[in-house]
Symmetry: C2
Subunit: 298 residues, 2 copies
């Protein structure tokens, strides 16, 4: 059983040793609101429907290993390979029988101004495989860029792209201009990316670029139903512009996207505007990674 | 009577010809929610207490001149001096007697990717005076940087700093880490500004820098009661970093701040971190500007 136990959601997958998924469970029992003594009971109740498959190994990753989780599992420092991550995992014996293996997150002490951290993405990166060098982008609320090199996760960086987009789309002056769009408007999205990709001294950052949604609307260049995708393009494009300035695109790395299909499509299109072809990683990277870290798959 | 009639607030000042303020009125009758035919009545009711002072000239600026305002007054193009702005003003006769003079906003057609616009700040800039060259910063929800040169407003740029700060402080992961602070914590604010001011290739933009609030907190370097001011420093500092990249700080211009005292203090401190001494402009710049544009003061 592979757990992805995050802040607001509990997700479990019943997995065969070869990675085949037999069943999935998802509930709203995220770690927020849970006390330390609640975790074992929540887990037992959630997995009760799978009792006929017991005994099984249980591997968990995500915010369940954080300060507000079940047990705070210390971060493993970069560079880290699958063996180092496995060595930092903690076994929590369960009442009755069995145990949960909690996978540690990573810390990049070379990051500035403070060490950067992630929890959960280490398992996805291991699932992708650390054998081939790559720059990996894991979009989401807090998007991670990670560098895989010589068999290890060397460094990574967080961009709070998804959260900033959601705030602007729901609560800002931009929300008030927007009309609902029936589907993703890729032309509008790519115009937004282009605003961020342009090496334009007049719009060098996000705070300036965001006003282009209003000035474009006033200028008749942006229609209300294009507003959401222009905004998305500006925000995702600004992440790429920052990543470029931070050196992540130097040397035209092999770029791999790990994430849900719609977000991954946006990032692949944004990458193209920055001159890079990006490929999609495996859909169940976190499951593959959990099997490797737990030693079930070599 | 000088009106500052914005999106959410109606403000009026009863002013002597020398700029001395006799009385002020402020209500929640901003332009949002008003229909075109409502404006005259709202104004008449608001100014009724000053009936004993009639007749008086009425000058209005701000979003009241926008597409959703009383009358859409066409923008005046940069470069613009006080005479050009006055020439673009529109007189609206009032029932009975008198009129309102509505001051036009400005458009900077050289801005990219779309022409930039402002409404209301033109009056504050005229109130500051266009005789001495200066780079003027007008902080707020949508902060404006403007260049005064050779007697005219030459160009300007908008940064949506205030709105992004408010969204992050109220609704984001940062809000959940923050504890109330009894007063502005200038040391924390300046640490935030320094994160943005550092020519740091690892944190080249706002999306990356914002995560420093969490990593600093995890690292024990940021206390919950410092979170709000660190965030403020990062966001205001990022505005300065973008303005620097856009050339606004080149040649160490005379930097003037026009705005409320607390915001102006933040911006003066941020300017110092970017190597510039900034001075505060007149407190009632919009009143002084309205007197000039309406021809009451030469």
């Amino acid at each position: 059983v592979v757990l992805d136990w995050g802040t607001s959601r509990f997700r479990a997958a019943l997995v065969q040793p070869d990675g085949g998924v037999v069943d999935r469970i998802e509930t709203g029992d995220g770690i927020q609101g849970l006390q330390r003594e609640d975790f074992a009971g929540v887990l037992a109740r959630a997995l009760a429907p799978w009792g006929g498959h017991a005994p099984f190994a249980i591997v968990g990753a995500g915010m369940v290993t954080s300060r507000n989780g079940w047990v705070e599992v210390p971060y493993v420092a970069c560079p880290a390979d699958a063996r180092a991550i496995a060595a930092g995992a903690q076994r929590i014996p369960l009442e009755g029988a069995g145990a949960v293996l909690l996978v540690p997150g990573l810390i990049d002490r070379a990051a500035t101004p403070y060490p950067d951290v992630l929890r959960g993405e280490e398992t996805q990166l291991v699932g992708l495989g650390l054998e081939r060098d790559a720059t990996v982008v894991l979009p989401g609320t807090h998007c991670k860029w990670a560098r895989i090199e010589r068999g290890a996760i060397r460094r990574f960086q967080t961009f709070v792209t998804g959260e900033v987009f959601a705030l602007l789309a729901q609560h800002s002056f931009i929300a008030r201009m927007a009309a609902p769009a029936p589907a993703a408007d890729w032309a509008a999205f790519e115009r937004g990316v282009a605003i961020a990709a342009a090496d334009d001294a007049r719009s060098p950052g996000l705070l300036a670029r965001l006003f282009a949604v209003r000035t474009g609307w006033l200028d008749g260049a942006v229609a209300p139903r294009e507003v959401g995708d222009i905004l998305s393009g500006i925000v995702v494009g600004s992440e790429f512009a920052e990543a470029r300035a931070a050196g992540w695109l130097a040397g035209a790395p092999r770029l791999v996207l790990i994430g849900g299909e719609e977000l991954a499509t946006r990032y692949v299109r944004a990458a193209r505007a920055f001159g890079l072809a990006a490929e999609a990683g495996p859909a169940d990277a976190s499951i593959l990674g959990a099997l490797v870290i737990s030693g079930i798959v070599a």
